[in-house]
């Protein structure tokens, strides 16, 4: 399957290799393949469509990294989104201190509740608890016997009562039993039931009310199809689920239900059952699940590859810029690249101080994000030559750039002046010792980061009166001498 998706993706995106940006047109074919893969994996139709829509939007505009197949890059984005959607996972239990902790299992018939109850008991015992199993499935013939056998196998107490008795009463009395015998964790194994049957669902609500479980787990078969959202939603509405145990993961089902349930009911998957033996319960890993939903191929290594290339390119660019800085030929192109990278690092506001001179360019009352877009627009409206050598920009060019970026010519002038200053400072900085650099940065931190709009460089010293043209000319002359 994965190979199939990969091949089709590659076909669709061949022309993109190593250059350009991902655009809506060229991502669409790829996303069709992703959508197909999700539907094949039994991800709910609506969930799959929403997901593809969101990832498409996220992909558009991303630069295609060189040495990387664009399809691989899109795959990485898809994978990341899947992981983000299904994680993070908290498989810790929250135990009550003064009374037995109650864990309740519920779900449709044949999902694996009883087996999961046994597995959970074993896991809890390994974590140092004293668990007790409660046979509250009085519906299925011999379900009580099954739980007793499992309890025997792992040496865990099983509480049951001979029929006729109601599951609600069994659960309530089981709690008393646990308190009496100092068993600190109670696992309620309820009968499987259909989410559309009112009476059995009501019975669950009654158990919920009388036992007040600390955690309610929904047990769901990994092979479940589109219907997973319906049942999960209904159970969640009735009981307010805390987590999902996804069973039968040792089969070859791709388990799209995990994604569906998480997105529709907002209930996290906590554990997965990976075999019939009682020690086959594992903590849920979104990474593994994302890989499985997308297909059987080795996505992890692909993901690592993309990440390492991204890092490598970042590193190369950083070194290149460093070198340029030292030589003083840091261009507007480099500048743009630099804050492109910064954008990826987080909200602009937090980063203003991390780039010297940055705060200079943005006035106090302007939203930094907007300001960056504005500056980006200016740079993008320049020709290659202008970006390399801003000195050629005269008033005519300024007008053209202003028209192209929706700004005013004076703004261009101001920006270029600030850029020249910044380049100078950066050149100096790159030649400074670390100590000097720290001094400078902290100084800038005070003036720049905390007082956006303050003039950090080009300190004039306050003379208390407006200088005459003559005085200014003198000052300029002095400055030139200093250099």
């Amino acid at each position: 399957m994965f190979e199939g998706i990969q091949r089709n993706l590659s076909e669709a995106l061949k022309k993109l290799r190593g250059r350009g940006r991902i655009t809506e047109a060229n991502v669409r074919d790829a996303m069709q393949e992703v959508r197909r893969a999700l539907l094949d994996a039994d991800v709910n139709y609506t969930v799959a469509n929403d997901f593809v829509q969101r990832v498409t939007e996220r992909s558009i505009g991303q630069q295609v990294l060189r040495t990387l197949d664009p399809s691989e890059q899109i795959f990485k984005i898809v994978y990341d989104e899947l992981v983000a959607l299904m994680g993070p996972v908290d498989t810790g239990f929250h135990f009550a201190k003064d009374r037995p902790t109650v864990i309740m299992l519920c779900g449709l018939q044949g999902q694996g509740k009883t087996t999961s109850a046994g597995k959970l008991a074993l896991t809890l015992r390994e974590r140092g608890r004293k668990p007790m199993l409660v046979a509250a499935d009085l519906q299925r013939p011999a379900a009580v016997d099954q739980l007793k056998v499992l309890g025997d196998q792992i040496g865990v107490t099983v509480y049951s009562e001979p029929p006729p008795v109601s599951p609600v009463d069994v659960c309530r009395r089981a709690l008393d039993h646990a308190k009496k015998y100092l068993l600190d964790t109670v696992i309620l194994d309820t009968a499987g039931r259909l989410h559309v049957d009112e009476m059995p669902m009501d019975e669950l609500r009654q158990i919920d009310r009388s036992c007040r479980p600390d955690q309610v787990f929904f047990v769901c078969d990994a092979m479940t199809g589109q219907d997973a959202v319906n049942s999960a939603k209904a159970f969640n509405e009735a009981l307010d689920l805390n987590g999902v145990i996804l069973t039968k993961m040792d089969g070859d089902a791709r388990g799209g239900a995990a994604l569906s349930i998480k997105s529709v009911a907002q209930v996290p998957i906590k554990f997965i059952g990976v075999g019939e033996k009682l020690d086959r319960l594992e903590e849920f890993r979104p990474e593994g699940m994302a890989q499985r939903i997308l297909g059987q191929g080795d996505i992890l290594s692909l993901v690592e590859k993309v990440a390492s290339i991204q890092q490598q390119i970042g590193e190369e660019e950083r070194l290149e810029q460093q070198r340029k800085l030292e030589k003083g030929d840091f261009t507007l192109d480099d500048f743009r690249k630099q804050f492109e990278q910064m954008k990826k690092m987080g909200p602009m506001k937090d980063l203003l101080g991390s780039m010297p001179g940055m705060s200079e360019m943005i006035s106090e009352d302007e939203d930094p994000e907007k300001a960056f877009t504005r500056i980006q627009g200016m740079i993008d409206s320049m020709t290659k030559e202008e970006r390399r050598n801003p000195d050629v920009i005269d008033i005519n060019r300024r007008r053209r750039i202003a028209a192209g970026s929706g700004t005013e010519p004076p703004e261009i002038k101001q920006f270029l002046a600030q850029f020249t200053q910044m380049r100078e400072v950066m050149r100096k900085m790159s030649q400074m010792s670390i100590w000097e650099r720290v001094k400078m940065v902290t100084g800038m931190g005070q003036k720049g980061a905390f007082l956006p709009g303050a003039k950090v460089f080009n300190k004039k010293g306050d003379t208390g009166h407006r200088k005459s043209p003559k005085e200014r000319a003198k000052e300029r002359k002095n400055k030139r001498k200093k250099r």
Partner: protein, 302 residues
């Protein structure tokens, strides 16, 4: 009519879960022409019923070719339903051996509903006047033998069993001997649930099949695969693998009384020509019906 009952049950189920399925019936009541929107809407419904990528594509293509830009109306509805019905075949029931006991072997993945389906099937055959014996060959899962024993007591049929952990093939062997010796009409063999990816367990299933075939010529006369209607596209892989191991003759589609539709049966029929014979539509012993494509397709769009 029994089909009416299934239909009603499905409708009751559906009426309780609004949201995803709401407005299902209104598809053919839409106004306007068969266009992209209509096809997309139809596609959505098929996907939500677990019909799957390939089968959905096929159906949508057929409708596109025949009805694109034509008015939405009854003829579209009739055509679509007809197409879907033709992709399925009616459940023929059990084909009996000419003489001697008829052996029905039942297999499936864990929790699909094998044991319950066997109880229902045994009950049904008894009502047809057959003398039924069941063999408890699920010797693996805890208390599975007890579960079948309880059922056999409830419906009043004989059972052949051994304790948990014994060889399932030997239980099958004993059951065949008993069926021949005591003149039973039908022997239903329950097997342990197994995921179709577990090679050794699939081989064990083949062994049971072989033992039965050696004991009674022509047996097993039926090999029924129990599929859970809530299962998605994995049902296809299940069908393929069980078919490969024990040459299935039909499907029991269990748990059709929920909101799931088990739409994977279209792809299964298409791919390996395995028909659905019975559907499980409830929790009581009488809730097993022969599969009827008409009411199934109606329920799909109901």
């Amino acid at each position: 009519m029994v089909f009416r009952a299934i239909f009603e049950k499905l409708k009751v189920g559906l009426s309780k879960t609004r949201g995803v399925f709401s407005g299902f019936a209104s598809l053919f009541r839409l106004r306007g022409k068969v266009d992209r929107n209509f096809l997309a809407e139809m596609e959505k419904r098929l996907y939500l019923a677990d019909v799957g990528v390939t089968a959905t594509f096929l159906i949508i293509e057929q409708v596109r070719q025949s009805f694109l830009n034509k008015e939405i109306g009854e003829d579209v509805e009739t055509f679509v339903k007809q197409q879907l019905k033709e992709m399925l075949t009616a459940g023929e029931g059990i084909s009996y051996a000419a003489n001697g006991p008829t052996v029905v072997m039942v297999a499936g993945v864990n929790g699909s509903g094998k044991t319950t389906s066997i109880a229902k099937l045994a009950r049904r055959l008894q009502q047809d006047g057959k003398k039924v014996l069941v063999a408890a060959c699920d010797t693996y899962r805890a208390a599975a033998v007890e579960q079948l024993t309880v059922w056999s007591e409830r419906i009043g049929c004989e059972i052949v069993k051994n304790q948990q952990g014994s060889d399932p093939a030997s239980v099958a062997h004993d059951a065949c001997e008993r069926a021949k010796a005591r003149g039973f009409d039908v022997l239903i063999v329950d097997t342990a649930g197994r995921l179709h990816t577990q090679k050794h367990l699939m081989r064990e299933l083949e062994k049971i099949h072989r033992v039965v075939a050696r004991q009674i010529p022509g047996a097993p006369h039926e090999v029924l695969l129990v599929l859970d209607a809530t299962t998605g596209q994995n049902a296809i892989a299940q069908a393929e693998n069980f078919e490969k191991a024990v040459r299935c003759s039909g499907i029991i589609l269990a748990k059709l009384d929920g909101t799931a539709k088990g739409g994977a049966i279209f792809a299964i029929k298409q791919k390996i020509d395995l028909p659905v014979k019975f559907v499980g539509v409830g929790e009581t012993l009488d809730d097993l019906e022969p599969f009827d494509p008409d009411s199934y397709v109606e329920a799909l769009f109901a």
